[in-house]
């Protein structure tokens, strides 16, 4: 089935919930975040569509995206030469998004669903009940991009620790300066002297401000988390 026909079929069935036809390298439909689950169920169960396979689920942050196509999107924040986290007073704006790459083994056709949600309330209906593989991909999207999936059976972090702060794949994510009290001190290893006796760290390439000493009393408990 052609992608335009799939889009037309979705539009006739779901009306306003299916808006634009996406015509790029990959063809797809822009759909409403709250109704993804029922659209997904239709895509899987309709005999003419038969999308039984969710190839990939991608969460992404559209913050600072250059829509004109000149590649002038905002730079992500990183560390400076001394390894200190870069600060910025820019406040992130722009939508978050999810893309579902679908494939039908039966018919051999592909389609991609795109969803955009506002940054203030990033909530998308979970498709884990339709394609169980989405359960882990959605956990990853929550973990790294911070998109909530309504109706997900167990939405918690998957790759990062439970107590991690922030969602790293957001464009305005500031790199941490320490991890659980352990400073990520920025030593310029290129300026260190290496010889047979080992490495000599020159004082002047150490982090300028004194590293914070980890305090036994305030360090969070890290035991076995079930």
């Amino acid at each position: 089935m052609e992608a335009t026909a799939i889009h037309a079929l979705l539009q006739s069935r779901f009306g306003d919930a299916v808006s634009d036809y996406v015509d790029g390298f990959e063809k797809g439909s822009l759909v409403a975040a709250a109704r993804v689950a029922e659209i997904a169920a239709f895509l899987r169960d309709d005999p003419a569509l038969g999308f039984e396979s969710l190839m990939c689920l991608t969460g992404l942050d559209w913050d600072g995206y250059d829509a004109s196509g000149k590649g002038k999107s905002v730079d992500i924040l990183g560390y400076d030469e001394l390894g200190r986290p870069q600060a910025s007073d820019r406040v992130g704006d722009g939508d978050l998004g999810v893309a579902y790459a679908l494939y039908s083994h039966r018919h051999g056709h592909k389609h991609t669903l795109f969803v955009r949600v506002p940054r203030a309330a990033p909530e998308v209906a979970s498709t884990a009940a339709v394609w169980p593989t989405a359960a882990w991909h959605e956990r990853e999207a929550w973990d790294l991009v911070g998109i909530r999936f309504a109706g997900h059976p167990d939405l918690k972090r998957i790759l990062l620790d439970e107590d991690w702060v922030g969602h790293p794949l957001r464009k305005d994510y500031a790199m941490p300066g320490d991890w659980q009290g352990v400073p990520l001190d920025g030593r310029d290893y290129a300026a260190c002297k290496w010889d047979e006796s080992g490495v000599t760290l020159p004082d002047d390439v150490k982090r300028p401000d004194e590293p914070k000493q980890p305090d036994e009393t305030t360090r969070p408990e890290t035991g076995n988390q079930g």
């Binding site: 190839m55 991609t112 169980p132 790293p168």
Partner: protein
């Protein structure tokens, strides 16, 4: 499911009722050798019977997708090596194809052929590890040493070709970083000649070994519906009886020119989709890879190995594309979002092992603990690729 997996003892008695005890939570990993990397499985057991499996991943997480947003398109190739460190060339291949499709670049013929040869050599190397360590999980030490013997030959060829033994960084956007050395074809053919004779040797050593069949046949059955629902690909999907392979069904590079078959599970020793079927798919795929290599070496043309009309700093036109290729573990997909600039806006890696491991939470409950080890081994996961 086997007799033991269904909770029946050897005498046919109901183990579950006779040996019922309290539920016990045990950790399998992260330092356990049977978990193939830094994986922690939290297993709830009642005696020997598994009641629930929860996988805890992320120990190797480096957020390579965040790093991608700070690199230019060519620079990130080196990070793709680190996903599946047992098959880096297959990871390079997927990313190169993804970017080249968006750029609309025509890769030179010679580069395409060398790419295919490398990718198939790498597939054999990866499958050798999979088979060897799977045998090790089942208590068979010797096959591992045999497998490493042949893998060493592949690593030697790839070392002579690229300079690296484990991480190659050999592919580039639009071709290869440099041409093959003189005598590359001779080395590859010499290896293929040896390899094709060794496969029957593994069969007698491991595949049709009675103890091995007892441990793997009818164990850890993953049927087709489960595979599709959980996004299992590669040997896991083919083991469930479907001859689906991206090289044939979603062709990329020049795979459509070669003759090869897609092995799939037929339930030869038990049920379709059991551990033995998945193992055997890999075994037969090594033979098919040898066939592809022979054809690619025969057809290897001369000429450049880099697309000439490509700038050093490539700029990918605006848009998004999901591209998948067949790695040794399954379908490696790159969902690339470009803003028209010199850096990827967002690159999502859909790694085959990620989905292949997820299914263990579904098929694990009800098994014996020892069958869980067999099933995890037969999935052939690599944690670098799951955690990225």
């Amino acid at each position: 499911m086997s007799e033991t997996a269904a909770g029946r003892g050897w005498g046919g008695q109901d183990v579950r009722r006779e040996l019922h005890s309290e539920l016990l939570e045990i950790n399998m990993g992260p330092q356990h050798p049977a978990t193939h990397g830094v994986l922690r499985l939290l297993v709830r057991t009642d005696g020997e019977i598994v009641h629930g499996v929860t996988a805890h991943i992320g120990y190797l997480h480096r957020c390579a997708e965040k790093i991608a947003e700070g690199c230019d398109w060519r620079q990130w190739m080196v990070y793709t090596d680190r996903f599946d460190y047992l098959a880096p060339i297959n990871m390079n291949f997927g990313y190169a194809v993804a970017v080249e499709r968006m750029l609309g670049v025509k890769v030179p013929e010679r580069a395409e052929h060398i790419r295919v040869i490398c990718a198939e050599l790498q597939r054999i190397a990866s499958h050798l590890i999979a088979i060897g360590t799977f045998g090790l999980d089942m208590g068979a030490w010797t096959p591992l040493l045999y497998c490493f013997r042949e893998r060493e030959e592949i690593l030697n060829i790839l070392e002579r070709l690229t300079g690296g033994r484990m991480l190659y960084n050999y592919f580039d956007i639009g071709g290869l970083r440099f041409d093959a050395y003189d005598g590359f074809e001779r080395d590859v053919l010499a290896f293929v000649n040896i390899m094709e004779q060794k496969i029957p040797e593994y069969d007698t050593l491991l595949s049709y070994n009675k103890i091995f069949i007892e441990r793997t046949a009818d164990v850890g059955v993953i049927d087709l519906a489960t595979c599709l629902a959980y996004g299992c690909t590669g040997p896991v999907l083919r083991g469930a009886g479907v001859p689906f392979d991206c090289r044939k069904d979603d062709p990329y590079s020049i795979y459509d020119r070669f003759e090869f078959d897609i092995p799939y599970g037929e339930g030869e020793q038990g049920t379709v989709g059991d551990c033995w079927d998945r193992y055997m798919v890999r075994m037969r795929e090594m033979y098919e890879s040898c066939r592809i290599i022979r054809q690619a070496v025969d057809a290897l043309p001369g000429g450049p190995v880099k697309a000439e009309d490509l700038k050093k700093l490539v700029k990918v036109p605006q848009g998004s594309l999901y591209t998948r290729t067949e790695s040794s573990k399954g379908e490696i997909g790159y969902h690339v979002f470009a803003d028209g600039g010199s850096k990827p806006f967002r690159t999502k890696v859909r790694s085959p092992s990620f989905s292949n491991l997820h299914v263990i939470e579904k098929v694990g409950p009800g098994m014996m603990l020892s069958d869980l080890v067999a099933t995890v081994g037969s999935l052939d996961i690599v944690l670098g690729e799951i955690d990225r």
